[in-house]
Structures are given as C-alpha cells and as structure tokens.
Symmetry: C2
C-alpha cells in the first residue's frame, strides 16, 4: 500500500442515516485504541484526517470505507466545524494520543452526510473502529468531540432537503408501501400526517408508480407496493 502524506489540520466526518421502518438511525463507530479501557466506551461519527493529495469528497469516501466498510456511498457536504477547542476535551485528547502523530494539532472537520438502506450494505469496521453500529437518532448518547453538534446539523440539512428532493428512496427497499414512505417522512420531519392527504400528494407527483403487487404474509389487508421511477423524476 502506498504511503500518503496526511494533512494534520483537516478531517472529514460522515453522518450516515438509515431507516428501520420506524425510526431514523445513524451510523457510529466505537473507538478502539488498543490498551486503555475508558476511551473505548465513547462512540463517535466515522471520521479522520484527510490526505494531502485527495479532494475532500474523496477523503470522506475513503475514511468512511476504511472505518466501516461502506463503499460507493453518495456523500454530500453539510457544514464545516472549526472551533479551535473542538478536539481538546480530555478524553478525546487521551484517545487521539493513541492514534495520531500530532494529537494536539488544531483540526477543522468537514461534515458529510448520506442516506442508505442498511439492508443493502455490510459493516466491516477496521482501522481504529472497534465496531460500527446503527443507533436510533433519538437514542444517540454523548459522542466524542463535537459530534453531537455535527449530527444535529446533518439532521437539519436532511429536514430542509426533504422538501425539495425526493429523499428517502435510498432509505427504502426498491418496492415499498405508501405507509412506509409516510413513516419515513414522519421520522425525518418529526411530525404526523394525514394518510389520505399524504397519499394524494405523493401520487400527484407521478414518479412514485404503483406496481401490480401486494405485500404478502401480513396479518392485515396487504398494502400495494410502489417504486420510485428515476427516469420520470428527472424529466421534471
């Protein structure tokens, strides 16, 4: 493997969302630093310093892959965090000393986000990620560094995007019911909608197209399945 020069001042962090049919989840790693115990208990967003010769977008891809095994994820930039003290809390410093050449260097971080269907990907944590786990957004604990702020910002970003872009078709199976889609909107916007009005609105767009198939094996009237038609969407 070739050796890359690391930029000591610039990192990327990835906020990857998924949906378990009820709630939004976010991908976190558990720090593994070798010997000490305490630092291991802290969860964080997958992130790391970039290389001198890669773009920010590529850095985000690479770091995400290295830490979690996720590959070819479409990542979008959200915001940049640069408080001079953002990595100087004691337990963060303790941990950084175990993995970085210049643990005290000031680091600004560029946050990236994506939405994926977790069923489609395997997590294979490595590098300093002892583990990679999906945690319900509502259950996210205190994270390392300023990662709770970063998550917050990514959530805001998600909320504002859902009004203009048909998000969430990456979060759902290829074939989904309108109830699933509604649950997803409700989870992202943290709100409730009227079923009839929601369906009318979705179907009016006409790039959510009905398949001639129904759910199977559910203990109630089976719902019709729909799919997202990308071609139709891009025509508009």
């Amino acid at each position: 493997m070739p050796q890359h020069a690391i930029n000591p001042n610039v990192s990327v962090d990835c906020v990857i969302f998924s949906f378990n049919n009820q709630e939004l989840e976010v991908l976190l790693i558990e720090r593994s630093a070798g010997n000490t115990d305490k630092v291991d208990e802290i969860k964080a967003l997958p992130g790391n310093l970039i290389y001198e010769d890669e773009t920010l977008d590529c850095g985000a891809q690479r770091v995400l892959t290295e830490l979690t095994g996720l590959e070819n994820i479409f990542l979008e930039q959200v915001y940049t965090f640069g408080d001079p003290d953002r990595i100087s809390k004691k337990h963060d410093q303790d941990w950084l000393r175990s993995i970085r050449a210049h643990p005290e260097a000031r680091v600004i971080t560029i946050a990236y986000t994506s939405l994926i269907n977790k069923e489609r990907f395997n997590l294979t944590p490595s590098s300093f990620a002892r583990n990679a786990v999906w945690i319900k957004v509502k259950d996210v604990p205190q994270l390392g560094f300023d990662h709770n702020d970063i998550l917050e910002k990514a959530l805001d970003h998600l909320k504002s995007k859902i009004y203009t872009e048909p998000l969430g078709y990456e979060l759902l199976p290829d074939r989904f019911t309108l109830a699933q889609l509604q649950k997803l909107y409700e989870a992202i916007l943290d709100d409730k909608f009227d079923k009839r009005n929601f369906r009318r609105k979705i179907l009016r767009t006409s790039f959510i197209v009905p398949l001639n198939e129904k759910q199977q094996g559910v203990a109630h009237k089976p719902a019709g399945l729909y799919r997202f038609d990308k071609a139709l969407f891009h025509q508009m």
Copy 2:
C-alpha cells in the same frame, strides 16, 4: 499588535452581496503584491488564512475587515472548497509567493456570505487588497483561484434561502417601495413576477408594514414606502 500563529492549511473567503436597485453586486478585491504588474490585474474574493486560535466565523470577520474595512457583518457559512489543486494555477502561485510564508501549502477554504446595503458601509481596503470594488454579478470576470465556483455556490445558497427567510431587508434602505423589493427578488432569483400577485403575497405576510410616506421628487406617481418589522417577523 500581537503576533498570531497562522494555520497554513485553512482559509476563509467572503462573498458579500449588495444591490444597486437594479442588480446584484458582489464585493471583490484587487490583488496588490508590491512590484509585479500582471498579478495585479486579477480580482478575487476577500479571503485569507485563519489564525490558529480563532474560530472560523471569527476568522471570516477578521479577514473581511482587514481586507475591505467592513466591520460587524453577519456572515454565514456556505460551503467548503478543498480541491488539492485549487490554488496551484501559475498566476495564483506567482501572487501567493509574494504574500505567503508557504505559498505551495495545500489550502482548503471555507466560504462565507452576507448581504449588505453598500450605502451603509465604507470600503477601506488594506493588507494585500489594493482596492475593493462592487462588481455586478453578471459582469464578474475570471477570478483568482476557484473563486468563480465559490461565487456560484454562494448565489445558489442565496436563492434557496430567499424562499424561507425574508432576506434582503439588509440589502434595501430602511424605507423602501414594493417595486424595489420586487426588483430585488427578481435579481436574486433571476426571474420576473407579476406586480399585483407579488404585492399581495408580500402584504399577506404582514411584517412588511406601510409607512404613511411617499417617495419624493420622482418623475412619476410617487410610491408608498414600507419598512420591515423585525419584531412582528420574529413572532412567527
């Protein structure tokens, strides 16, 4: 003046918009590097490296003030640009060599933006800004570095913000006509609106309140003046 350590890898650039009652303008500086001639011809956004011990927001404020004299401008982060080659074009390097300790260091930049009423501020360029000028957005020439991309992104940001926030009251005089406001919306969104519909929509919000005053000395029927009521706005 105290000496500050400079972070060689992180800069900020400011995209400051103003409005001349017809068109959007953006604030650019002309590079001044002392001796050579060629490099002086290039315009750029005001921007520079940050200090190790300041936040990004503060850095943006400081750099803007140092280069243009603008003070206490509310700056908002837009996007971060980090292509490894973004500052390596020949004429950019020539100029950087004249002002930086490490002209070849990789620099990522965080773009900030703001809207101001240029009548309310004086430009007093200094540091390496030989001059600071308002240029119509439509007339912006080829800029240094990737500053045309940055301007583009800031414009997109502006367009998307105008739908949710009552932008542009900072761009207008305290007392303005609805025609001025409409022109501003048209300039930002690069579109035309129907006068009656526009007025109805604006007045429906009810935080644009009529003053009992009219324009004076215009060669046509004078328009009524309005003001933006911040208190009323924040109630919603």
